[in-house]
């Protein structure tokens, strides 16, 4: 009886959040679906009628489609790899005894507070500019030819910017996880003479598994939709056009809302494939 009433109460309490999100998801989704079957060209007077699957076919057969998928995945995977590898190292470092730990922690999480637009502008102009950028000065100081970041290694540059922004987040989550590690177990292993690497591999890393999965899940959500970092730096040139950016170009630069909407539907499909894949791992980890 009690459980029955608390069940329905629970459902009632969940209702606002679920209904709101359902609305937030369904209304735009249905509108996107509707537009994706129509020739909606704002500059040519709006809705030009039903066109069947034309938009879908055109979006996929465009020469920009597959490269954009590859770029999207490269940026997500690249940034994730950097964030996790350096995040683990930083978390271990921050977990050590030192003077001024609080200040160091502040320094390391600071990039997370910076707006993506600001960080992209600052990186592009003040650091990566091939003539006046700080990196160019540094390279020239050592007698090297400056790297032309945004055209020579554009994808890597964007990964660098994005990783800088998201590394603090990964570090924080991994740090809380490391702090919960049973120190006695580690000390016991140290007594037994297990070398550092072995201790890391067999004790620390498995303990971090769950935190790493969570970092992957949450950051993937944000990384799939990065926009400002590309808009500000390369504008999609030099092979940095992600799927999100391609949709932006179709909707706002070409002013073809129907085509962009079809792209939006593909992006949702891609996101769901990634999501299902992620949920599998996370779901398993959540039960544990």
């Amino acid at each position: 009886m009690a459980t029955q009433s608390s069940r329905s109460a629970a459902r009632l309490m969940m209702a606002p959040a679920v209904i709101l999100l359902l609305g937030w998801m369904l209304v735009p989704l249905l509108m996107t679906l509707w537009f994706s079957f129509r020739a909606y060209l704002p500059l040519r007077g709006g809705d030009q009628g039903f066109v069947g699957f034309d938009n879908y076919v055109r979006f996929v057969t465009s020469s920009a489609f597959w490269p954009s998928i590859v770029t999207t995945l490269a940026i997500v995977v690249g940034a994730l790899a950097i964030c996790i590898i350096f995040g683990v190292l930083l978390a271990i470092l921050l977990d050590q005894q030192m003077w001024g730990q609080g200040v160091v922690r502040i320094l390391i999480i600071a990039p997370f507070f910076v707006m993506p637009t600001v960080s992209a502008l600052v990186w592009k102009n003040i650091f990566m500019d091939p003539v006046n950028g700080l990196f160019a000065h540094l390279w020239r100081f050592f007698g090297a030819d400056p790297i032309i970041w945004l055209s020579d290694i554009p994808v890597a540059s964007i990964i660098l910017i994005v990783s800088w922004q998201w590394l603090p987040f990964a570090t924080l989550i991994l740090l809380t996880a490391i702090q919960s590690l049973d120190t006695e177990q580690l000390e016991a292993a140290e007594m037994d003479g297990a070398p550092v690497l072995k201790r890391f591999w067999f004790i620390v890393l498995p303990h971090l598994g769950r935190a790493i999965t969570i970092v992957i899940l949450i950051q993937t959500i944000f990384l799939l939709s990065i926009f400002a970092e590309i808009f500000v730096t390369t504008g999609g040139a030099f092979g940095t056009r992600t799927l999100t950016y391609l949709i932006f170009q179709r909707v706002l630069e070409s002013q073809n809302v129907g085509l962009g909407s079809a792209g939006g539907v593909y992006a949702i499909i891609l996101a769901n494939i990634v999501a299902i894949f992620l949920m599998r791992i996370v779901g398993k980890n959540l039960d544990a």
Binding site: L21, M98, I126, S180, T244, F248, V251, G260, A275
Partner: protein
């Protein structure tokens, strides 16, 4: 002897950690320094680090050109409002997911997260048309709603993971004592979850503060927050590094200060259930 070894090790740790910390912080530091230079100094070759004529001119120019306070207030209202509203809606939902789980709980949770994966630009026109119909364009209320919806999944998820860490027995005991559902949430659960709620609010405040797509595209003069303020300083004609740096510093300073004061709270709460 042992003490000496630890101290030595501590010194090495300190050295490495500070070097890494400063390296990561350097872009922000450099931006702040640049904001006090003249435009010519900002691009001087070789770059000047500390020994230049410090000037507040850029800040004066930026303030004269655009009313910083108005953007700031909009940012606070939009980020704060959406976070508080989202938390209020999320607490009951997260509570019921954590304490009255059903078979579908996890599916609902994961589905909520997946709504975050909709590419924003793909739905710009639909949302814009909808906002015209609802009269919400360029209104703080509209922005509060949009950012609340965007961050709601993260809020629910974070709260859910905290609530799950609270042992069920305590609730049982409260129930035995005759507490009803409302009291249970208000007086038993919430106090225990305060650290979690606090860090949830902090994280989402930061995320809402930095959101730059909807806040730029759905506002004009009335509801424009600091992201729009920045958009008026990026790449104008002429030299702009110093003024851009000043505007950037002004845009990130409030959140940076807030983050620094509350970083302990943030660190403690940012587990997402990663710690058992």
């Amino acid at each position: 002897m042992a003490c000496a070894v630890t101290n030595q090790r501590k010194a090495v740790n300190t050295l490495i950690a500070w070097a890494v910390g400063l390296l990561i912080f350097f872009p922000i530091l450099w931006t702040i320094l640049t904001s006090f230079k003249t435009e010519a100094q900002a691009i001087s070759d070789p770059p000047v680090f500390l020994f230049f004529d410090w000037t507040l001119e850029n800040y004066a120019v930026v303030q004269e050109r655009s009313d910083y306070l108005r953007y700031l207030i909009n940012s606070v209202i939009i980020a704060g409002g959406s976070t508080i509203l989202g938390t209020l809606i999320a607490i009951p939902a997260a509570w019921s997911m954590a304490f009255v789980p059903s078979k579908r709980t996890k599916d609902i949770l994961l589905w909520m997260l997946s709504t975050k994966m909709l590419p924003a630009v793909g739905v710009l026109y639909p949302i814009y048309l909808l906002f015209i119909q609802l009269g919400l364009l360029d209104s703080r209320f509209g922005m509060v709603i949009v950012l609340m919806l965007i961050n709601l999944p993260i809020i629910v998820w974070m709260l859910y993971t905290y609530f799950r860490e609270i042992p069920g027995e305590i609730l049982e005991a409260a129930r035995m004592d005759g507490a009803n559902l409302r009291n249970e949430i208000l007086y038993v659960l919430t106090p225990m979850a305060v650290p979690g709620i606090a860090s949830t609010i902090l994280l989402n405040f930061i995320l809402a503060w930095n959101e730059a797509f909807w806040t730029l595209n759905l506002t004009a003069a009335q509801a424009a927050p600091l992201t729009a303020f920045i958009a008026s300083y990026s790449s104008p004609e002429g030299l702009f590094y110093a003024k851009l740096s000043a505007a950037s510093t002004m845009a990130i300073a409030p959140i940076l200060i807030l983050g620094w004061f509350s970083q302990k709270q943030l660190v403690r709460g940012l587990t997402f259930g990663a710690v058992k």
